[in-house]
Amino acid sequence: MSDQGSFYQRDRSWHPPAFTPQYKTSILRSPQYPLLSLENTISELTGPVFGHDKLGPLDNDLIRNFAKTGDAIGQRIIVYGRVLDENARPVPGALVEFWQANAGGRYRHKKETYLAPLDPNFGGCGRVITDEEGRYWIRTIKPGAYPWPNGVNDWRPAHIHFSVFGHAFAQRLISQLYFEGDPMIWQCPIVSTIPDKQAIERLIAALDRENTLPMDALAYKFDIVLRGRRSTMFENRMEGN
């Protein structure tokens, strides 16, 4: 018995639906026909692999990886955790990419127009590949909250975007990390696209005093869970699986 079967069906009532009118951009960008349910084929059970050799030594250090004259400005933090699957097993070799605004809430992007200044020492991207136990860690600054054009006065809570490649294309996931204790989380039209409060809480990183670096950086713990696979008990293995 091994995890060679298809992935557990995605719980679409746990994820945000496509059409969420409070988040206005979703109105014209949400498919209206039902999704076509497709049993996993080899096209979804496989996925690209990224070797540790693709990464440089500062890739997971957003405080330094773009720095020109000194460290990036802002509250220094470490974000660490594990990538697991729904069977609670670690996912080693997972590529996790991060991007975020700077401490003032400004993104380094040619289409960004917010008045908060750019930090010349902060690019805003990082990436890491999980180790044999599925662990990862990055160092960065806590991003600022910022206003965005949705309602006339909507604000995003401080957040870090992340993208995960597991072992199969069916596991592909992009989401956002929020911070414990932030009251802005519960006022956000994008957060509230997720219908279940427990699901939202899964996106809130926990402040971890025990793993802070004294006189240096706060620590936040954030585990990520990807889809898990069936065990192939009594099951004929699929061709090509």
Partner: protein, 208 residues
């Protein structure tokens, strides 16, 4: 109390937002010097086996406007129909072809474009073959969870007619939304695959 299943729930999705490029293709948004090259921009090396093709298109919202801030990922088999993945147990794929690509849609025209090779056929259940196809995954601002679809090839009529996945589509009128037309541009076979998020021509998206 019954025994516990000890299973975790998947991390819920959130939109990739308008600045997904900072994380996915930083060089493309002029964040240079952090990493040498954006992952997934180049699929094909001189040694790669197979017919060179261009795959391009645009993604349209419900008003018919192309998305200029989307990110498109593709995943496909090599020319022999093998995936370059540890999960591929049928043989060894072309080592000069990763099968994975990632491109932003152009900030002015909304076009995405991949230079790749035409994939071989891969099996479905009971040794039946699927028609050659490229898996697509689309994220953008306003898309709350990544959209999975597939591109099939317009010049593979026979294979498309036999494909067990295309056969699953109840409303036959929607099958053409997955089939790219072939033309020639600058001497290269070019497949145009436009994706419609809504409307009469809404693309078939999959829950896989």
């Amino acid at each position: 109390m019954v025994q516990k299943l000890d299973r975790l729930k998947e991390t819920p999705s959130q939109t990739a937002g308008p600045y997904v490029h900072i994380g996915a293709t930083p060089n493309w948004v002029e964040i240079t010097g952090v990493w040498n090259e954006d992952l997934g921009l180049v699929l094909v090396a001189p040694e790669t086996k197979g017919e060179r093709i261009i795959v391009k298109g645009r993604i349209f919202d419900g008003s018919g406007t192309p998305l200029k801030d989307a990110l498109v990922e593709i995943w496909q088999a090599d020319a022999q129909g093998l995936y370059n993945s540890p999960q591929e147990k049928r043989g060894k794929a072309d080592p000069h072809f990763t099968g994975w690509g990632r491109q932003p849609t152009d900030g002015t025209t909304g076009e995405y474009k991949f230079e790749t090779i035409k994939p071989g056929r891969v099996p479905y259940k009971e040794s039946r073959l699927m028609a050659p196809h490229i898996t697509f995954w689309i994220v953008a601002r306003g898309i709350n969870i990544g959209l999975h679809t597939r591109m099939y090839f317009g010049d593979e009529e026979k294979a498309n007619g036999e494909c067990p996945v295309l056969a699953r589509i109840e409303h036959k009128v929607r099958v053409p939304t997955l089939i790219a037309s072939r033309s020639e541009e600058n001497g290269m076979p070019t497949y145009t695959f436009d994706i419609h998020l809504q409307g009469e021509k809404e693309t078939v998206f999959f829950d896989i």
